[in-house]
Symmetry: C2
Subunit: 255 residues, 2 copies
C-alpha cells in the first residue's frame, strides 16, 4: 500500500479559541476525504498554538537582566529573548540571531521554537506578536484526536509538528513535537551482529519521519496548508508520546 | 496534488556488478507504475553499495595502531574500526559501540555508515562482511538517473538515502547522501521580520524530508523494499547535490 499525503486546502485562518478538530473535519469534507480508521492527521504547530491563544504581545514582556545580557550578545530583540528564556530549561549555544536551547518540553531547538505571529491584536502591528509552542503538545494532540473520534467515529493518529534545524546539516526538517495514537519510535530488526547471529534492533524515529514527510507538503504559501492527511502509515497505530523521541541527557554526547 | 510514495516490491537481491537502473525499470513495470517526468526514485544506500562492490571482507583488513586503541575504547571489532577510520576525516565522539565521525563524504554519522552485509563470499560467513557507503553517491545517483532517462525517456530525480541518528533525539531517520535531478534545499519565504516587513528566508532541507518519508516505507522486511517511487514532490526538480545539505564546519556549533 502506498503512503499518501494530502495537504488540506481551504482551512480558514485560525484564531484563539477556534475548535481545530471541527475545522479539520470540515476541511476533510471540502477536500472530499472520508476519514478511515488508522489515517493520520499531521498538524502544523502554528495553528495549534494560535487556537490555544499562545500568541504573546512583546509590548507586555519585561526583560530580566539575563535576557538583556543575552540579547546584546545575540543581537536579538530583548523581549523575544526574555520569552525564549522563559520557555527553556537551558541555553546550549548562542550565535548572532540564534539561541539554541533545551526547550521546557525537552527537545533541543533554536529560539525555543518561538515564531513570529500573523495574529495582530487590535491596533497593534503584527510584528509585535510572537507565537509560543503549545503548552503541552501531546495533550493538544490527544484532545484533537478525541474530538475527531467523537465527530467522525474514526480513530485517527494525530501528529503535531514543527520545523527544526539540525546540528550538522543545512535546512530545517519537520519533527514531531506532540503525538497521540501513533508510535514515536518503532523497533526494527537489523542485520545479524558482527560476532554471530544475534539480531540487532534498530530504533527508527517513525513519527519524525512522518513529520518530515508532511512538512514537505505544508510549505509554500504564506499560511501554507497546515494540515496534511496521511493514509498508508506502515506500522500499527497505538499509544505514543513526544517523550519516546527525546534522548536522555545522560546519553547526549553533544551538549 | 498529494505526495504518493510506493515501495517497489519484487526487486531481486542485488549483487556486485548488477545494473541497478535496469532492475529498477523492471521493478517499476512489475509494480504497474509508468514513470512520469518529475517522478523521483528513492534508493537505499545499501543496494547501491552492493551493486558497486563496496562489500569488504574483514578477514583482509589490517588494523593500524590507532584502530587498535580506538577498538579497545569502544569495544568494537578492531578490523571494523580500521575501516571506519579509513572512511572518515575526523572522529568527533566515541562511546561503547559507537564512533561518531565526519565521514569522508562530509556528513556526521555513526560508524562511518558502515553496515553489516548480507553478501557472503564463497565459503565465508556473512558476518565477516561489511558494506561501505558508495564511493561518490552524487555520482551514483547521476549515473542511475542517466540510465533511467535512456531506458524510459523520462527525467526522474534520484535520491540515495541512509539512516542516521540525531544528536538529541532517539531513533534513526532517513537522510539524503546522494542526489541527482532534485534540489537538496529549498528557500521558503518566512514571516515578516520582527523589526518590519523584511521577509525572512527559511531554508528547508527538502531532500532530507523526502529521504525520511521514503525511509518510512522501506523498513520492515529483512531486505525491505529498498526502492520507493515518489510522485507529487511539491517543488520543481533541478540540479542538486549532497554538498548543499552539509553545514560548513565554521558554522558548526556542536563539534
Amino acid at each position: 500500500m502506498p503512503l499518501t499525503l494530502t495537504p488540506l486546502s481551504g482551512l480558514p485562518l485560525i484564531r484563539p479559541g477556534d475548535n481545530l478538530a471541527d475545522m479539520i473535519v470540515e476541511a476533510l469534507e471540502e477536500n472530499h476525504i472520508t476519514l478511515e480508521e488508522n489515517d493520520i492527521l499531521v498538524i502544523a504547530q502554528k495553528i495549534v498554538s494560535k487556537a490555544e491563544g499562545r500568541a504573546m504581545n512583546l509590548l507586555h514582556v519585561r526583560p530580566s537582566p539575563r535576557a538583556i545580557e543575552l540579547a546584546e550578545r545575540t543581537e536579538k530583540d530583548v523581549r523575544l529573548v526574555e520569552l525564549i528564556l522563559q520557555e527553556s530549561r537551558e541555553v546550549l549555544r548562542t550565535r548572532p540571531g540564534t539561541i539554541i536551547v533545551e526547550h521546557r518540553l525537552g527537545f533541543v531547538c533554536a529560539n525555543a521554537g518561538i515564531d513570529h505571529s500573523n495574529v495582530a491584536g487590535e491596533g497593534t502591528a503584527a510584528e509585535e506578536w510572537v507565537l509560543l509552542l503549545p503548552a503541552n503538545p501531546d495533550r493538544s494532540a490527544e484532545e484533537i484526536r478525541h474530538a475527531i473520534k467523537t465527530a467522525t467515529g474514526k480513530r485517527a493518529g494525530i501528529l503535531i509538528i514543527d520545523s527544526h534545524g539540525r546540528a550538522w546539516r543545512n535546512g530545517t526538517v519537520g519533527v514531531a513535537i506532540g503525538l497521540a495514537g501513533l508510535p514515536g519510535l518503532q523497533d526494527l530488526r537489523g542485520q545479524p551482529d558482527l560476532f554471530g547471529f544475534t539480531l540487532r534492533i534498530t530504533q527508527v524515529g517513525v513519527a519524525d519521519e512522518l513529520a518530515a514527510a508532511a512538512s514537505l507538503m505544508m510549505g509554500q504559501a504564506a499560511e501554507g496548508t497546515p494540515v496534511v492527511h496521511v493514509r498508508g502509515f506502515p506500522y500499527p497505530l497505538g499509544a505514543g508520546s513526544l517523550q519516546e523521541l527525546l534522548r536522555p541527557r545522560e546519553q547526549d554526547l553533544f551538549r
